[in-house]
């Protein structure tokens, strides 16, 4: 219990302190990294605890659940919290090495971590909204990091579209309270079962729109290329590897956890939308010349897999969705961070990321693809399997064309300024993690299965 509270409070308090100070100074930037590292350690400890002993719950103020706010750490929330924290840590370190360009950067990243942790570990629908806003506001401010017109434009599009999504989410929260009379997720889930079909589905659609916009699924994806390509690499890594996780988590928690009947009703539509994402993202990435833009379209394609897995549902589908979300977050963080670097280790790191996106062993993506194929076979649909195959082929094509363009074609115009070693080493470590996860995915898969089992009763 205290672990749960500490995990939440550490980045929150530290962030509030850091954000007022001048983050351009190295000691400050590194202390932010240290805070994130401590947070990561605590989260891992929490995850171990949850994996072995089951979910941990805490209600604020000691009030009964429902009156006070329920905070709950279970396998699903803990997994997402750990991976988001890891991505934030790496991105913060990436910027701390040369020194941040803006004074608010380190503080904002830590506050973003606080918001995300709170969001993943809360068991209350409105509290989810509030932490969601904390995280999103921090990321709106972060998106403009760098100050160039491209970044400002990216921040504007990001903020406008996601604010729209936030308010749609709020409307759905109002609807949830109205039809169930409570705000604690467990009670809401019970209430939804008793509510009318029409209202339930309409509210669920509202949530779906909000989360899909966050993830960048087709057809809500238009903002994504502008934002991911326009922002700085570290910010793009944060947005795609940490903030986008809100969407994946939300789909699973709200879809399978709170609105399981509506999820089943809409399963075909979800699978169709996911398939459209996979194909659209893959096809569009093929002709992109700019690496960041290519990665943005790749992101659209990759999250399609998560939606397909959620749509198919069941223990296999949900576990595959969780696993793939984690792998995708790591891939994207790795790839976005390597995009701006040059030097000996960078090509290797990029290759690992490319192999992971395409699902080629020994990178982590191959286990993800394996679980997705199992989902497809479990759904009994040859079309789904063919779709997964086409998606893999497309990602192989565009990733390696890009690899060849960046690292094989010697461009005499580009000065070969080698990036500083610490940055390259950081990216290499992340690549090694992705490789290690591919060779031994056991702990992550077990966590994913535990996460899926939480919803076994409802979605059975």
């Amino acid at each position: 219990m205290t672990l749960l509270a500490t995990v939440l409070l550490v980045p929150w308090v530290a962030g509030a302190l850091l954000v007022g100070l001048d983050g351009r100074r190295r000691p400050l930037a590194w202390s932010a990294v240290a805070v994130l590292a401590v947070g990561l350690v605590l989260l891992v400890a929490l995850t171990v605890r949850v994996a072995s002993a089951g979910p941990v719950q805490l209600v604020t103020g000691g009030w009964p659940a429902g009156v006070g706010i329920v905070l709950r750490a279970d396998a699903l929330g803990a997994t997402f919290a750990v991976v988001s924290q890891l991505v934030l840590l790496v991105a913060a370190a990436h910027e701390a090495i040369p020194g941040p360009r803006a004074r608010s950067f380190p503080g904002l990243v830590v506050l973003l971590a606080a918001g995300l942790t709170g969001l993943f570990l809360t068991g209350d629908v409105f509290n989810f909204y509030v932490f969601f806003e904390v995280a999103m506001t921090a990321s709106y401010a972060l998106a403009a990091y760098g100050g160039r017109p491209r970044q400002l434009r990216a921040a504007l599009v990001f903020a406008a579209v996601n604010l729209l999504g936030s308010f749609i989410f709020l409307l759905s929260v109002a609807g949830t309270y109205r039809i169930t009379g409570s705000l604690a997720m467990a009670d809401v889930a019970d209430g939804v079962l008793r509510a009318g079909a029409n209202a339930g589905l309409l509210v669920a659609v509202g949530f779906f729109v909000a989360f899909s916009t966050k993830l960048g699924l087709f057809p809500f994806h238009f903002w994504l290329p502008t934002v991911y390509a326009g922002s700085r690499p570290a910010v793009a890594a944060i947005l795609s590897g940490a903030v986008a996780n809100i969407g994946g988590y939300g789909l699973i928690r709200f879809g399978a956890g709170i609105f399981p009947a509506q999820l089943r009703m809409a399963a075909t539509a979800l699978v169709v939308l996911g398939a459209a994402s996979i194909v659209y993202g893959g096809v569009l990435a093929v002709s992109r010349g700019d690496t960041a833009e290519l990665l943005a379209y790749s992101a659209i394609g990759q999250v399609g897999y998560v939606l397909v897995a959620v749509g198919v549902g069941g223990p296999v589908g949900l576990a595959a969705a969780v696993f793939y979300s984690v792998v995708n977050a790591l891939n994207k963080a790795l790839l976005f961070l390597t995009a701006g670097l040059r030097g000996p280790l960078v090509a290797g790191a990029f290759v690992v990321g490319a192999l992971s996106v395409a699902g080629v062993p020994p990178a982590a993506g191959f286990v993800g693809k394996l679980t997705l194929f199992r989902t497809g076979v479990a759904a009994g649909s040859p079309a789904l399997v063919v779709l997964l195959l086409v998606g893999s082929a497309l990602s192989l094509l565009y990733m390696f064309m890009n690899y060849q363009r960046q690292f094989w074609r010697s461009d005499p115009a580009a000065g070969t300024t080698v990036s500083p070693l610490p940055r390259r080493a950081l990216v290499a470590v992340l690549a090694l993690l992705v490789l290690a996860l591919g060779l031994w995915a056991e702990p992550l898969w077990q966590l994913s299965q535990q996460a899926a089992d939480l919803f076994a009763r409802e979605s059975g």
Binding site: S104, A144, G181, S182, A197, N198, L202, G206, L370
Partner: protein, 781 residues
């Protein structure tokens, strides 16, 4: 070096392919440490595998990912031993060859010797992966090694980074082998879903015929055929010849392409459950034999002849697997062994010749036999091995092949004879054009390290040709695994009129015939090549890629990535989804109008005011007008809240609305004076083809209308839900005195849901920081 012999026309050499300078000893003196280390590694592997096999095999089984049912299970059974020994044995020789070749190659291209680090690790990893692949007993583990070899091959083909050919070839090889390998993964998942295991021995025991088995078998076959460069997935192999010769000699003759038939051999009991798949293998094998063999007859570039030959030779093995049964299984195993030593020797010959003369085309080479008799002899033995002439291992490979083919019917007999005839023809042409006739070039001496491995392989061929039992035992063991039953391989010289001998004789006759009429053969081959260019699989591949580029570009051109589309892309699909949801659920009785009571009669006109003000906001002509209308909306809503018995909310709404108005006014004052009028800003921008304003007139109201309707449907829908018991509200009201307060709402936000309020304050903090950073004229960036 000697004079040019009399009578030889001094052919002017083309500018780009002059004879290279004499290979200095300088490069090799610095020592290719990485190469020798890899060689030692391969040798160690060879010894370990040999000892292991002689001791009767070994196996190990470790848990890998228990929750996914994946195990690290390896077994050095006959099949595994055969491929592992082949990979490591030929590896030793090719790596030794490579130490000399690579140094020369790098020297000629004036590249740094540090580039060796981009070569040897991949070669060594590849050898290790082959051993793993050969001994793996778990389908997913097999898939892992399968793809590791493909990745190694990609980097090795692309070793000559500056050649566009190499880029294209590497990408093509990667795409074809990796995508066809996914079929293996899908088959594994299918079988797992049906039988609950990934382990190959267990599957071989449990599987019976059925649709799942047939589909899985077909997929496994596709994976194997793609890897072994069989028709129609064969077009990547000739392209892959852009790799340096050691790579071609190792990967693309004896190791990587062998992985495909290894897969077929290992899962053959599964394939055999389905007649359709076996027939398919026969057809594909035959097609590969014919296409490879015929096309090899007209190829000019040395390595291309050998590439097409590889396609053709593995076609033999696929045909044997299609035939199935004990004889064929043993024959296939023996064939792979014999072919491996022959083909890699021939590739190394091609490399040595190219290094010595600087030419890589048959039309510019000739008469090398006089200069390098040892090389000619060794290559001749290798060629004879391939062609199945007596006193070489090849004779027995063909004998076993003929026996199996004859036993399967007359069609296969004819195919077998035709195949062997073609082989003799094209390899005979290769050797004769290279080593006989008038010398056309002036070769420099070939370093011993380049000819020694070829000689070793030639000697091995002859040894096995005399004492076939050296390979027969291994082949029998391997065949037993394929056949899932004991197999006996007993090749020998029989001087009688048995079918195998007759077939051999007719094949040789056919081959000699083709050699005697080179013109006809060449014409036919060129015709096939032209047909292939026009309608063959490579054209399909290229077309497919180009089409996807075009589609991608076209789609992107249609996307307008500005803010309006991004927003519209959220609103319109959201509206459509809501409409879908609306249509999909029963709505009769779900919408209640509700009746006004008491203070509601005051609320209604206020709501009317809100509506009017909202519309004014939307259509305001000036920015100031919009801000003022916005504040009217806000204050009117505050009044609505007050009348709705929400005094706290009303108070805060007034304060917030005041602040919002002030912030808007401040922003308005600070914005530069540009346009609500349609004057473009000072920046001259080429607006180009995007953002057509004409058609957009009706689009905005339409999108807004859709959004509004969707919102109406949704909000009215859930507001009309029958009242749920307000348990939470009652609970909060009850507990307020405990929390030392009287205003329930205040107590809620400060105590019960205080965490929300803390987070809300954090949002304010972040917003303040964000605004401060943005507004301070960039001083803080």
């Amino acid at each position: 070096m000697g004079d040019v012999p009399a009578g030889h026309e001094n052919l002017a050499t083309a500018p780009e392919s002059s004879a290279p300078p004499a290979p200095t000893r300088r490069a090799s003196r610095s020592g290719d440490r990485q190469g020798w280390a890899s060689c030692a590694l391969a040798a160690a592997g060879f010894v370990v595998c040999l000892v292991g096999w002689l001791q009767g095999g070994a196996s190990s089984d470790w848990p890998w990912m228990p929750s996914l049912d994946l195990r690290l299970s390896f077994a050095l059974d006959g099949l595994g031993a055969l491929y592992a020994l082949l990979a490591t044995g030929i590896g030793v020789l090719v790596f030794a060859y490579g130490t000399a070749y690579l140094s020369l190659h790098l020297a000629h291209q004036e590249r740094a010797t540090a580039e060796r680090w981009r070569f040897w690790p991949w070669m060594a990893l590849f050898a290790a992966a082959m051993v793993g692949l050969a001994t793996a007993q778990d389908l997913v583990l097999l898939f892992l090694f399968f793809d590791v070899t493909a990745v190694c091959s990609y980097f090795l083909i692309g070793f000559d980074r500056d050649e566009q050919q190499a880029h294209r070839a590497a990408l093509m090889a990667l795409l074809v082998t990796v995508v066809s390998a996914v079929a293996l993964l899908i088959a594994a998942v299918l079988l797992y879903a049906e039988y609950g295991t990934f382990s190959i021995p267990e599957l071989v025991d449990r599987v019976d015929s059925g649709t799942t088995t047939t589909v899985a078998a077909a997929l496994l076959a596709v994976a194997g055929l793609g890897k072994s460069a069989q028709v129609p997935l064969h077009f990547w192999l000739p392209r892959a010849m852009a790799a340096p010769t050691p790579v071609s000699a190792y990967l693309h003759s004896a190791a990587m392409v062998a992985a495909g038939v290894l897969l077929l051999g290992r899962v053959h009991p599964l394939l055999a459950r389905s007649d359709a798949v076996l027939t398919g293998l026969l057809v594909v094998g035959t097609a590969s034999i014919v296409v490879g063999g015929v096309l090899a007859l007209s190829q000019d570039v040395l390595k291309q002849v050998l590439a097409y030959s590889t396609i053709s030779q593995y076609g033999y093995v696929v045909v044997l697997y299609g035939i199935g049964g004990a004889t064929a299984s043993g024959a296939a195993a023996f064939y792979v062994l014999a072919h491996g030593i022959a083909k890699s020797a021939l590739f190394m010959t091609a490399g040595a010749v190219t290094m010595a003369t600087g030419q890589d085309r048959l039309s510019r080479l000739g008469g090398l036999g006089r200069r390098s008799p040892l090389l000619a002899a060794a290559a001749g033995v290798a060629a004879a091995n391939l062609a199945g002439l007596p006193l070489t291992a090849g004779f027995f490979k063909d004998e076993l092949f003929f026996e199996a083919a004859h036993g399967a019917g007359s069609v296969t007999t004819v195919i077998a004879v035709l195949a062997a005839g073609l082989t003799l023809a094209y390899i005979g042409r290769f050797w004769m054009l290279l080593f006989l006739g008038r010398p056309r070039t002036d070769p420099s001496p070939v370093p011993r390290l380049l000819t020694a491995p070829i000689t070793v392989l030639a000697v091995a061929s002859v040894l096995v040709g005399v004492v076939p039992q050296l390979f027969a035992g291994l082949a029998a063991d391997a065949g037993s695994v394929t056949n899932a039953a004991p197999v006996d391989v007993s090749p020998g010289y029989h001087l009688d009129a048995r079918p195998a001998n007759l077939m051999a004789l007719s094949a040789w006759a056919l081959g000699v015939l083709v050699l005697v009429f080179p013109g006809t053969a060449r014409a036919g081959s060129l015709a096939l090549a032209r047909a292939g260019d026009r309608i063959g699989p490579q054209r399909i591949y290229t077309r497919l890629l180009r089409a996807s580029f075009r589609l991608s570009g076209a789609l992107h051109a249609r996307e307008v990535l500005d803010l309006r589309s991004s927003v519209a892309a959220v609103l319109v699909p959201a509206g459509l989804l809501m409409a879908l949801a609306f249509a999909a659920t029963p709505t009769v009785g779900a919408y209640a109008v509700g009746s006004p009571a008491g203070s509601d009669w005051l609320i209604l006109p206020l709501l009317g005011l809100v509506l009017v003000a909202a519309c004014v906001t939307a259509r305001a002509g000036t920015r100031l007008g919009m801000v003022l209308a916005l504040s009217v909306v806000g204050f009117a809503l505050a009044a609505v809240y007050a009348l709705n018995s929400a005094p706290d909310v009303a108070l805060v709404a007034v304060v917030v609305e005041t602040m919002i108005t002030l912030v808007f006014l401040a922003a308005l004052a600070r914005l530069p004076r540009a346009a609500s009028a349609a004057r473009p800003g000072h920046l001259h921008v080429d607006v180009g083809a995007e953002a057509p304003l004409r058609g957009a007139r009706w689009r905005n109201p339409l999108a807004a209308g859709v959004a509004g309707l969707a919102a109406l449907a949704g909000i009215w829908g859930f507001l009309s839900e029958p009242d749920v018991t307000p348990g939470l509200a009652e609970e909060l009201i009850r507990r307020t005195p405990e929390a030392h307060g009287q205003d329930v709402v205040t107590v809620t936000i400060t105590d019960f849901r205080g965490l929300d309020t803390l987070a809300e304050i954090t949002v304010l903090l972040i917003a303040v920081v964000g605004v401060a950073t943005l507004v301070r004229k960039g001083r803080l960036w």
